[in-house]
């Protein structure tokens, strides 16, 4: 009624019979496009009591922030907002109709789109890696999908993508990250059998691979997982269930294995790496971008592991670690390590501006990025 006040009429604004602080009533400002998600009950708030609340739709995550106001914002509910019908609300018996203020709002909540907080996902799933001696080591917390929703501040779609990025696999309802050493055992067995049975790494027949490895003692689920982690399904295959191993993923796997114990001299690394890579795969050092760093110490070039997947997902933390690893970076080396950074509203140029200092030793030299 207040909103449809007719020309030349008046309404008396009163304090509602139940006027009060009503801390349980809050205002939330939203974009129009989010309004229907909220009204149709498609959003949830997620997080632990000690974390800032985030609001999640099916595919996006928003930080909830309070914005105060120094204005007086009188909140007026519709006429029937009251458990008592004798008083309050709008009253047409009086000469002048009334509208009642239930609360003076100190401000409102607003939403800021943010990247999902997936670092926590990685750390909780890493508590209990799935390894070959699973039976004896499966203690501590294991997480089902619903447990992950409760712990990780991300929307359903973002959580699924996060699990995929971690190469996590669902075993007996629990989401697990498989120990790298165990993955190595399975992959080597697959490659060994490929040689034995003359399988082409470009067209591995799923049923054959699974049955052979299963008879070698590997759980079926893990064989499929191995194919997923190191290969891709060949879509064009007529009878489905054909896989092609991915050169980059296989090469990175072996590089990480070699460098797990520490850095190596380039010649030594290359010799061992080339020896381990199956014949059918063409290795090239470029495949290792975002996974290894090379540095010159004296006359020697050394290689050490630094995987972008081990770095924090938040830009500030990411750059901090990168600059600890190396004080100055050229763009070609830095790019693979920040390519995946996701900040809604910030381009990679803006990220560089915000978190790095750019310098150029001379006109023809490459620009160099260092900490701010």
């Amino acid at each position: 009624m207040l909103l449809n006040l007719q020309p030349t009429s008046s309404v008396s604004i009163q304090y509602h019979p139940f006027f009060g602080p009503h801390d349980d009533l809050v205002l939330l400002e939203l974009d129009e496009k989010l309004l229907s998600d909220v009204l149709y009950q498609r959003v949830t708030l997620r997080g632990q009591p000690d974390e800032d609340a985030v609001l999640c739709t099916k595919s996006k995550t928003y930080l909830v922030k309070f914005v105060g106001t120094s204005n007086s914002v009188f909140l007026i509910p519709p006429a029937d907002y009251s458990t008592s019908h004798e008083s309050g609300g709008e009253n047409y018996n009086q000469q002048v109709p009334t509208a009642s203020v239930i609360k003076v709002a100190p401000g409102n909540m607003e939403l800021v789109e943010v990247a999902p907080r997936l670092d926590k996902l990685k750390s909780i799933l890493s508590e209990n890696l799935y390894s070959s001696d699973e039976a004896s080591t499966a203690m501590g917390d294991l997480y089902k999908w619903d447990d992950l929703i409760n712990k990780v501040q991300a929307s359903d779609d973002e959580l699924k993508a996060g699990l995929q990025a971690l190469s996590a696999v669902e075993i007996d309802g629990y989401w697990r990250i498989v120990d790298e050493k165990y993955m190595d055992v399975i992959l080597r067995m697959l490659l060994h059998n490929s040689v034995l049975n003359d399988w082409s790494l470009d067209s591995l027949v799923e049923d054959k691979v699974v049955s052979v490895l299963e008879s070698d003692g590997f759980p079926r689920k893990l064989v499929y997982h191995c194919l997923n982690v190191y290969g891709s399904r060949v879509e064009e295959a007529m009878d489905g269930g054909v896989w092609r191993l991915d050169a980059r993923r296989v090469c990175v796997h072996f590089a990480r294995g070699i460098l797990r114990e520490g850095k190596r001299k380039m010649e030594s690394f290359m010799e061992e790496w080339l020896r381990m890579i199956p014949e059918e795969i063409q290795p090239s050092f470029d495949l290792l971008e975002g996974e290894v760093l090379t540095e010159k110490l004296g006359v020697e070039t050394w290689v050490r592991a630094l995987s972008v997947s081990s770095l924090p997902t938040t830009p500030a933390d990411r750059f901090s670690i990168l600059f600890k690893e190396r004080a100055k970076w050229e763009w070609k080396d830095l790019e693979p390590y920040i390519r995946d950074l996701n900040v809604p509203g910030l381009s990679s140029e803006a990220l560089l501006l915000k978190y790095t200092r750019r310098s150029q030793p001379s006109i023809d030299a490459e620009p160099v990025f260092s900490a701010r």
Partner: protein, 130 residues
């Protein structure tokens, strides 16, 4: 922890709430501080067919207009209840009880009305502005 955001009134029937916003603070005479309920704050008038409004609080008259909010707002009510299953924890739910799309905004300095009785409620100009 996951808190469901519900809309128990139903999306299509979600009522529209209103906001009257002023720069300043409404002061209540000390003797009325503890019995505000049902006390009149002021009179809101719409003099013509335009969306202009006057709000008379005590001996001040404010002029303003109804504006559409740049972004809509929802009114959420926090509901706490005990989870029967795990009697130790209390659950929180949020219920959308209203939608706000317009407000009647007063942002000019009030004009003083010369005659009239001593008001129980008066408007005080916020010196800092908003």
């Amino acid at each position: 922890m996951q808190i469901q955001v519900k809309c128990s009134c139903g999306a299509e029937k979600c009522p529209e709430w209103a906001i009257i916003e002023l720069q300043g603070v409404v002061e209540v005479q000390p003797s009325f501080q503890h019995s505000l309920q049902n006390l009149q704050i002021g009179l809101l008038c719409r003099p013509s067919s335009q969306e202009n409004y006057t709000f008379t609080v005590g001996y001040h008259e404010l002029t303003g207009s109804k504006v559409a909010l740049k972004k809509p707002m929802v009114v959420l009510k926090k509901i706490k209840y005990m989870d029967v299953a795990t009697s130790s924890s209390s659950c929180v739910e949020l219920d959308v009880v209203g939608v706000i799309r317009h407000k009647i905004l007063f942002k000019t300095r009030p004009t003083a009305l010369i005659s009239g009785p001593q008001p129980t409620v008066k408007e005080k100009i916020n010196a800092a502005g908003a």
